[in-house]
């Protein structure tokens, strides 16, 4: 009994021990196979597999006809393993001769290459030549030099160089830096993909072993409203004229009346995005969007249109224009015209034809400051255009009416004491040309994705600013500037009826006291006047040329180009007679 009891006890003990050990092993087994299973499997797969990044391509920027303005291109960085190279080419002479072969095809200096290898002899990685084209890359590969490798280096190319360069922006080492490249980055940017699979020793994928794969997503194509051939001609026209008159900068805007599409937005100085380092820092953006200026007399068209819309005046309202305007101004201050005259008898049309500051001041007495301010705001002065040009776009400057001093109260009517960008001025004339309805200015038609969807379409809606009658009558009055104004001969385009307004604005001195002897000159025009289709605004930065006659040749050239390019049929009727004097 005693013996059997101790046996039983031992047996129990053994059993317990065995169960205990088995339990521990089972527990561990469950832990490994069930609890940690997923994590361990993942680890195991990671050990066996490698992850490869697959690159998407950044989208292109094209013009309205599909011509490529910016595109992604393949470039390659030639790299090397100094450790391998130095072990293969044991003497400096051998190394130099191997590297000379590379420098011969890449055009880089052998000394630099040798230095790159010797900089860190134990390293496994060094850049030899960066960003070479496929031809060069192929040539380097054919040399079959031990220790030389490569990596892809996606780059950006602008096939049309400086055409619309100021609008496109460019890509720096940290990504898009300006212009469309930056504003529309969310459309253009690609998403890199990844594929993880198990690899054999020679690097070939083991069949059926793809663990996970995310496809790369190519960026969308941004389509601009710009016509790049027109843009080229417009850029040439303003650059030639700017150089001729010594203007430090110039802009030109061509806008289609029916939909507000900007067909050309030219800036001088220009930048070739392929060669950003060759351009001045100030030349990188688009002045037409970024730089407001006192527009001068081109604003008179808007002032007259507002007064007509409010029912205060008509095109034939008769006024007496004194030699100087002093009404309501503090003693000693006066407003004068660009030409000396005695007392004149103008109609509203005559005020515009001869661009009389005094005349528009007299007319503006008909309406209160706040109301005139509100009309300007309605025309878009002081607020950014609908174009999404981000922080680069300026809203211009329109101060509240209650801050206007007596002289500003009048000068705003002829575009001094107020500022606007070229695109804003174009927008004002588009509204006049489009029978009083502003079609918001548009630069991007949309973002076209590879799956056929289109995003980033302009969502803005047309806005009625003034009545059709007021707009049409203003355009009719502006025709007198081209048929009989002081520089009409420079503005006339044979065969076409053109309505235009010139602007010569003395530049305010930077210290805030008075004006310098420099002028910003501009011409804003509409053609054909009987059925407005295109608006052209050319502006030349401060020069000593104090007459818009120096801007007129560029305007004529650009407008002629626009009318020819878009096959606008010549006018068949003469401009109607508009009474300008009495």
């Amino acid at each position: 009994m005693k013996k059997s009891r101790s046996t039983a006890r031992r047996l129990t003990l053994t059993m317990i021990t065995i169960f205990g050990v088995v339990g521990v092993f089972t527990g561990r087994l469950v832990d490994l196979q069930v609890v940690q299973s997923a994590a361990l499997t993942k680890l195991a797969i990671e050990n066996r597999s490698s992850t490869v990044t697959t690159y998407g391509t950044r989208g292109a920027i094209v013009d309205t006809n599909g011509a490529v303005l910016a595109d992604s291109v393949d470039r390659f960085d030639i790299t090397a393993s100094p450790k391998v190279m130095l072990s293969v080419y044991k003497t400096p002479a051998l190394l130099t001769s191997a590297l000379t072969k590379i420098s011969a095809v890449t055009g880089s200096s052998t000394t630099d290459l040798v230095a790159a290898i010797n900089q860190n002899p134990k390293s496994d990685f060094a850049y030899l030549v960066k960003s070479v084209t496929l031809d060069v890359f192929d040539a380097v590969q054919k040399l079959k030099i031990s220790g030389v490798a490569w990596e892809p280096h996606p780059a950006r190319s602008y096939p049309n160089g400086a055409i619309a360069g100021n609008l496109l922006g460019f890509i720096g080492t940290d990504g898009p830096q300006a212009g469309i490249e930056l504003m529309n980055n969310s459309c253009l940017a690609s998403t890199n993909g990844q594929s993880t699979y198990e690899k054999s020793r020679d690097g070939t994928r083991i069949p059926g072993s793809t663990v996970k794969q995310t496809d790369p997503k190519n960026g969308g194509t941004v389509k601009l409203t710009i016509d790049h051939d027109l843009q080229y001609d417009v850029q040439q026209a303003i650059i030639a004229q700017a150089k001729k008159i010594g203007a430090p900068w110039a802009t030109a805007v061509v806008e289609r009346v029916k939909d507000g599409h900007l067909l050309a937005v030219a800036d001088y100085p220009t930048v070739d995005p392929n060669n950003v380092s060759g351009a001045k820092r100030t030349a990188l953006g688009s002045l037409a969007f970024s730089t407001p200026y006192e527009p001068g007399s081109t604003f008179k068209a808007m002032s007259a249109a507002s007064l007509i819309d409010a029912g205060k005046i008509t095109p034939t309202t008769r006024i007496v224009v004194p030699p100087v305007y002093t009404k309501g101004l503090p003693a000693g201050q006066y407003i004068k015209d660009s030409f000396v005259h005695g007392t004149l008898h103008y109609t509203t049309a005559g005020v515009l034809e001869n661009s009389s500051n005094i005349g528009i001041s007299v007319l503006s007495e008909q309406m209160g400051a706040q109301e005139r301010h509100d009309y300007m705001a309605k025309f878009g002065v002081g607020s950014k255009t609908a174009v999404d040009f981000g922080a680069e776009q300026s809203a211009g400057y329109l101060s509240p009416a209650n801050t206007w001093d007596p002289i500003t109260n009048r000068t705003v009517e002829f575009g001094q004491g107020v500022s606007a960008t070229s695109v804003q001025v174009a927008q004002i004339f588009e509204t006049l040309a489009n029978h009083g309805v502003r079609e918001p200015s548009t630069l991007v038609e949309g973002c076209y994705h590879s799956d056929g969807t289109v995003t980033d379409k302009p969502t803005t809606k047309p806005v009625r600013v003034i009545s059709q009658q007021a707009a049409d009558e203003t355009v009719k009055m502006l025709e007198t500037v081209v048929t009989g104004g002081p520089i009409s001969d420079l503005l006339k385009i044979p065969g076409y009826r053109v309505a235009a307004k010139t602007g010569t604005a003395q530049v305010a001195s930077t210290n805030g006291s008075g004006y310098t002897n420099k002028y910003i000159i501009s011409v804003a025009g509409i053609a054909p006047a009987e059925d407005p289709q295109y608006v052209v605004v050319v502006t030349f930065g401060p020069s000593t040329m104090g007459s818009s006659a120096f801007a007129a040749p560029a305007f004529k050239k650009v407008m002629t180009e626009v009318l020819t390019r878009y096959r606008v049929e010549p006018s068949t009727k003469r401009a109607p007679f508009v009474q300008t004097m009495w």
Binding site: V68, D71, V73, D74, T133, L134, D135, S157, Y158, P159, N160, G161, A162, I163, S200, T204, R205, I206, P207, G208, H228, D229, Y232, D233, Q235, Q236, I239, A240, K243, T270, D272, N274, N275, G278, T483, G484, S488, D489, K492, I493, P494, G495, Y496, R497, K557, T560, L563, T564, R567, E569, P570, S571, T572, K573, R574, A575
Partner: protein, 212 residues
């Protein structure tokens, strides 16, 4: 009982049994092999063959698969290379198709842009607008021959030469073009040129589009 049994059996029965059993044993063995051993070998052969077959099939399949993997690998490599070539060629095409390059080549051929727009309406042959002879502008003022520099530069064109058919032919084409333009305008549309002159000289009238 026991002695009787002990004597009788060992002598007679083994013989009898041996005699009897011998043919029986042969029979039994043969029937056993038929019943048991033969089917076993058959199974073994079948199983072995099947297993062998499976292994072979798996091996072949695996060879085929990895062959496919290598083929996929090489084809993907080829596709990548070809895509690169296509992209590089496209890049070159875009560069030579750039406006600067086309304009430079057009200038080289003696082409000029007309600053006075006019249209010939096909339906009734009317000339709309004021046609004038295009002025032969200065061909390369302020810009390099190929458009790489100049007012609207394109640095991609730095190493792109102009397209030239032949040096002599190019000169002829240039001369021929300008003289051609002159004869055409003087002989072909005299009234038209006249009308444009009156307009430019300027009473402010539109050109009368009556020329036929």
């Amino acid at each position: 009982m026991s002695s009787n049994l002990a004597v009788a059996l060992p002598v007679s029965r083994p013989r009898e049994r041996a005699e009897e059993q011998h043919p029986r044993r042969v029979h039994l063995v043969s029937t056993r092999t038929r019943r048991l051993a033969r089917p076993k070998i058959g199974y073994a052969i079948i199983v072995t063959a099947v297993i062998f077959g499976i292994f072979m099939a798996q091996l072949l399949l695996s060879i085929a698969l990895s062959g496919g993997a290598y083929r996929i690998g090489s084809l993907q490599g080829e596709q990548r290379d070809l895509a690169r070539v296509a992209s590089a060629l496209n890049e070159k095409l875009q560069t030579v198709g750039s406006t600067q390059n086309l304009a430079a080549n057009a200038r080289e051929l003696g082409m000029v842009s007309d600053s006075s727009p006019a249209f010939l309406r096909a339906s009734d042959g009317k000339v709309l607008g004021a046609a004038a002879v295009a002025a032969h502008g200065s061909s390369s003022s302020g810009r390099s021959a190929n458009g790489a520099t100049g007012s609207v530069p394109n640095s991609l064109l730095t190493d792109v030469p102009l397209v030239k058919t032949s040096t002599s032919g190019h000169g002829d084409a240039n001369a021929g073009n300008s003289s051609n333009g002159a004869t055409e305008s003087s002989a072909g549309t005299p009234t038209n040129v006249g009308s444009s002159e009156t307009v430019v000289a300027g009473s402010g009238d539109l050109p009368s589009p009556t020329t036929h």
